[in-house]
């Protein structure tokens, strides 16, 4: 019984920490309707500003907090100015990618300036502890709770009772109407980012002190948990974000109590899925929240497809096929092979997200299912890869569609968050289902690609295998898009209500898109498994899902050629910047930002 009290207290303590993260995310989402992936980076920067202030300037805590607050707020203004304002009126998805690009740049800058190794961030708080049941609560816990609650309270008062608060709420409700009423919408956005980032930075400082540990890689996990917490509380709802965070902390803590530590995140994401399915507005969201969500169609930029003449496509394809004969450089061929594998993933995603309008943030999960399916079929049953890879495609299509099916009634950001959670659940299931997947130890000794007794392992033959599969998938998808099926899928994207009134069974067509996409992604994962000969739960991580999304948006949503081009660019760029060593991901992030800034509808345009 006393353990139960302990789990509860511990759940509230960690929920307390999530709350600080979630409040900033909720504020930005509420006003700008944007999941700010750079929020985690601001959190990291806040921690490092604090570290510098304490280490070099020996500042007392209140002054450090003030500096962090102001410094992070300024970063927020910068993020809004670079990532958001120039992209207004462009594709709704563009700012999201911009925040991802910004988070790359900011994280890399922190790493270059402060080095990658973790640092201690000591606090000068007195070491007072209050004993509760078997555990205890320290001064830092109280400070964090105080910061979370008081920032929520201050925000509440600010939004309810001040003039700028009115303007913020008006902008959140209807940007155009607010502008017509004389609200300076840009200034409002700027203020919101400043406040949210100031809070984000402050939470980085406090959490860093709490753990006495800061490192440049801490941002992604922070964003992830913050997003989960604020969805549970009700997207864009500040008090909801706090309650949602506490609930998330409690569920994680009870999850550990029930099944053990390695199940913690599984509980978190299952909770999230539960909320999305049964209470998509969250604990505190009014009914109106989902309705104010844009129709999915407006996610995608209105644009004209960049016309690529048929002869050019044929010429490029022939060049791709002829390349290994002319220039047989294994490194180049391997890089291109990686690009083709990524392109299969991008094709799958562009069909699901671009053509059908179902944003998927968890596509790496399909790769993982495909990879493990093919590896296990080959190793346990002795199937030839020629058989196990297509089978893996079918399995990924079936499992992927079944997993996402219940989420089909969600739209816009909600389906994005649901797929993110599903991707995480797949990866955590792989980690914990040791009897099948061998968990973290992974599967080794996966046989190389082969067909009819011929093994394909030279860079050239692997290149051809991937290129042929990619060409087939691309051709198939092009045919699909120009058929009545493609038209129907686009109709689903453009206007679900209109589509339904024409007698289109939405979930039916969404299933077709996911099944077709799942097949392509599963095949890509299957080939990768035989290529690497070793897989574990980290081979296909959630960063890969974000990368795939970036490829698709870069190429142009729904655009088949664009997806391939996007994959080629995003696999190729980091390789091209190899000479820059430690700086290459920084350069990559900057290039990504520039691309989104000047071509938000994608290189070849959305279709």
């Amino acid at each position: 019984m006393s353990s139960f009290v302990d789990y509860t207290v511990n759940g509230l303590v960690i929920g307390n920490i999530y709350a600080l993260l979630a409040v900033g995310l909720a504020l930005i989402f509420g006003v700008a309707n944007l999941i700010n992936f750079a929020q985690g980076s601001v959190y990291t920067i806040g921690a490092y500003i604090g570290w510098a202030a304490i280490t070099f300037l020996h500042m007392p805590l209140p002054l450090t907090m003030a500096i962090v607050f102001v410094g992070s707020g300024l970063i927020g203004v910068l993020i809004e100015r670079i990532g958001l304002r120039p992209l207004q009126g462009k594709a709704r998805i563009a700012p999201l990618i911009a925040t991802i690009g910004l988070s790359f740049v900011l994280d890399q800058l922190v790493q270059l300036i402060f080095s990658a190794s973790p640092r201690a961030l000591p606090s000068d708080l007195p070491d007072i502890r209050i004993d509760i049941a078997g555990g205890s609560i320290g001064a830092m816990d109280v400070l964090i709770a105080g910061a979370g609650l008081s920032s929520a309270a201050v925000l509440y008062v600010f939004l309810r009772f001040t003039k700028l608060g009115y303007a913020v709420r008006a902008t959140a409700q209807d940007r155009e109407a607010a502008r017509q009423m004389g609200v300076n919408v840009d200034a409002v956005n700027s203020a919101v980012f400043a406040i949210a980032s100031a809070l984000g930075g402050l939470s980085g400082l406090l959490v860093g002190m709490y753990y006495n540990h800061i490192d440049p890689a801490m941002s992604f996990q922070a964003t992830l948990k913050g997003v989960v917490a604020q969805v549970i509380g009700g997207v864009g709802n500040v008090p909801g974000a706090i309650v949602g965070s506490l609930l998330l902390g409690l569920v994680e803590s009870y999850g550990i109590a029930l099944l053990g530590t390695s199940y913690r995140n599984l509980f978190a994401f299952v909770l999230l899925i539960g909320f999305l399915l049964f209470l998509p507005n969250g604990l505190f969201g009014g009914r109106s929240v989902v309705h104010s969500e844009p129709l999915t169609g407006s996610f995608i930029a209105p644009s004209r497809e960049f016309p690529v003449p048929r002869w050019a496509v044929i010429a490029l394809t022939l060049t791709a096929f002829a390349l290994p004969l002319i220039y047989n450089a294994p490194y180049l061929l391997q890089t291109l092979t990686n690009a083709w594998l990524a392109a299969m993933l991008a094709l799958s995603l562009t069909l699901v997200s671009g053509t059908t309008g179902q944003m998927s943030f968890g596509h790496a999960g399909l790769l993982a299912i495909g990879g493990y399916a093919s590896a296990l079929l080959a190793l346990n049953i002795g199937w030839s890869p020629a058989l196990s890879i297509p089978a893996a495609g079918l399995i990924a299509a079936a499992i992927g569609t079944a997993l996402v099916f219940p989420a089909f009634r969600l739209r816009g950001h909600y389906i994005a968050i649901a797929t993110l959670a599903i991707g995480e659940i797949v990866s955590l299931t792989i980690l914990n289902w040791e009897s099948l997947t061998q968990g973290a130890m992974g599967i080794s000794g996966i046989p190389p690609l082969s067909a009819f007794g011929h093994e394909a392992y030279s860079a050239r033959s692997v290149y051809y295998v991937c290129l042929v599969v990619l060409a087939a998938l691309a051709l198939l998808q092009t045919r699909l898009l120009s058929s009545h099926l493609g038209r129907t899928l686009r109709a689903v994207r453009e206007d679900e209500v209109a589509a339904r009134s024409f007698g289109i069974q939405l979930s039916h067509y969404k299933s077709i898109a996911f099944a077709f996409g799942g097949f392509g992604a599963g095949v890509s994962g299957g080939i990768a498994a035989h290529l690497y000969s070793y897989l574990n739960n980290q081979t296909f991580d959630s960063q890969l899902s974000l990368l795939a999304l970036t490829m698709v948006i870069l190429g142009g949503m729904g655009n088949v050629l664009g997806a391939i081009l996007g994959a080629l660019v995003l696999v190729g760029l980091p390789e091209m910047f190899r000479f820059a060593a430690e700086y290459r991901i920084l350069i990559y992030g900057i290039v990504l930002l520039l691309l989104i800034r000047f071509r938000p509808q994608g290189l070849l345009g959305a279709v």
């Binding site: 303590v13 790493q111 002319i326 490194y331 392992y457 574990n536 081979t539």
Partner: protein
């Protein structure tokens, strides 16, 4: 080979490679003047594991400075390395592998950091006949990749039984194990549990945690309820420090015994007061009186003005080992493989003297010392058992 574009492209690559070797191998010696011999390194310089790549570089450069300073290998040829950033991502290690195997200048490959990343590339190295030398790869199946896959990483089959014995020597009977849920941690935990059973100890709880986990309070309730008389940490220094701090801050006084991988000055910095009383053992300890350890520590401190840690030491050891193989057996890729099998008793910080078991392609018999943290410093264990109840 006569096609113009390929030549010009090759020219560009050559120029880039030259640029690379300038930026990433500044420790060029004056003494060695011959044509340089290039080692290919695949490892993380960016991404979540970037810190380890940076640690490697320090060890590499110290070793190269020393070797090239006394005239290089093979009668005056300097050694240098090309460090390709993989972010420890399997998609990038396979590309790097192709790059290295097709570059005739590369005579041996070192790395990558994680087994996920290294083992994805093993088949490429094996088929091309270029030695993949993983010096942080303790995955039990890593060297099964083929006869070109070697490792001098301390085998967990050596290390974990020693940790179990230390726990037994300290007088503990009931152990709770917290392990990092990666291939390394999972393999270590398996071997540890077996060894503990053999030593007559009981593992009363076993909890795996994710690498990015920061909060352990609820896990510690589980641990407390299992009533162990010691907590075993199979962790790296950063997570080990986080857990140690939280063990103390939730008010548990249970003694902590941590695997050698926490050994780093950073562990004490990050864990603060909670590091006091932590028992650990290490293959590498700067206070170790062995002459090869003292020589390394002094040189390292002179160059970097900081205490070396385990990652610095293995990187240093690896270059010293590879240099002696090349010096003795030549620069041919196959000769290096055969050389690894034949070479005996290379001076080593970790092993004292390193020789390979030709069956497992690993080095056995890592030295280790029992350590305990007192007053914020690692020190040799004085043999005093803690009071247990």
């Amino acid at each position: 080979m006569t096609i113009a574009p390929s030549l010009s492209r090759r020219g560009i690559f050559a120029a880039l490679a030259a640029l690379l070797s300038l930026t990433s191998a500044p420790a060029f010696a004056q003494a060695a003047k011959g044509e340089p011999i290039t080692l290919g390194v695949s490892g993380p310089l960016t991404g979540p594991n970037a810190q380890y790549g940076a640690q490697w570089k320090k060890g590499f450069e110290l070793a190269l400075e020393e070797i090239n300073g006394r005239g290089g290998v093979q009668g005056g040829r300097p050694l240098q390395y090309v460090f390709e950033d993989s972010q420890a991502d399997p998609r990038q290690t396979v590309a790097i592998a192709q790059k290295f195997v097709s570059d005739p200048k590369i005579v041996v490959e070192l790395g990558d950091f994680s087994s996920t990343a290294s083992m994805a590339a093993s088949s490429i190295y094996q088929r091309a006949g270029l030695v993949q030398f993983g010096f942080t790869n303790s995955h039990p199946k890593f060297t099964l990749g083929g006869d070109f896959i070697w490792s001098n990483s301390v085998s967990q089959a050596d290390e974990q039984p020693r940790l179990a014995k230390y726990a037994a020597d300290l007088g503990f009977k009931h152990l709770a194990v917290l392990y990092l849920n990666t291939d390394w941690g999972r393999a270590s935990q398996n071997i540890f549990s077996e060894a503990a059973k053999t030593a007559g100890l009981e593992v009363v709880a076993s909890e795996g945690y994710q690498p990015d986990e920061k909060d352990f309070r609820s896990t510690l309730v589980r641990v407390r309820d299992a009533k162990p008389d010691a907590i075993i940490l199979i962790s790296y220094y950063a997570d080990g420090a986080l857990i140690s701090r939280q063990i103390r801050s939730v008010g548990l006084t249970t003694p902590i015994v941590a695997s050698g991988s926490v050994y780093s000055p950073k562990f004490i910095e990050l864990a603060g007061d909670a590091s006091n009383g932590v028992y650990t053992e290490s293959n590498f300890f700067p206070g170790d009186s062995r002459p090869e350890v003292q020589a390394f520590v002094n040189k390292f401190k002179a160059k970097y003005n900081e205490e070396p840690d385990d990652f610095n030491a293995v990187a240093y050891d690896t270059i010293v080992l590879i240099a002696s193989v090349i010096d003795k057996y030549g620069v041919d890729r196959t000769a290096i493989r055969d050389g690894l099998a034949s070479i005996k008793d290379v001076p080593s910080v970790i092993y004292g003297k390193a020789s390979f078991d030709t069956q497992t392609r690993r080095v056995a018999g890592a030295r280790a010392v029992y350590l305990v943290v007192r007053d914020g410093k690692f020190g040799l264990w004085d043999g005093v058992k803690p009071a247990t109840n």
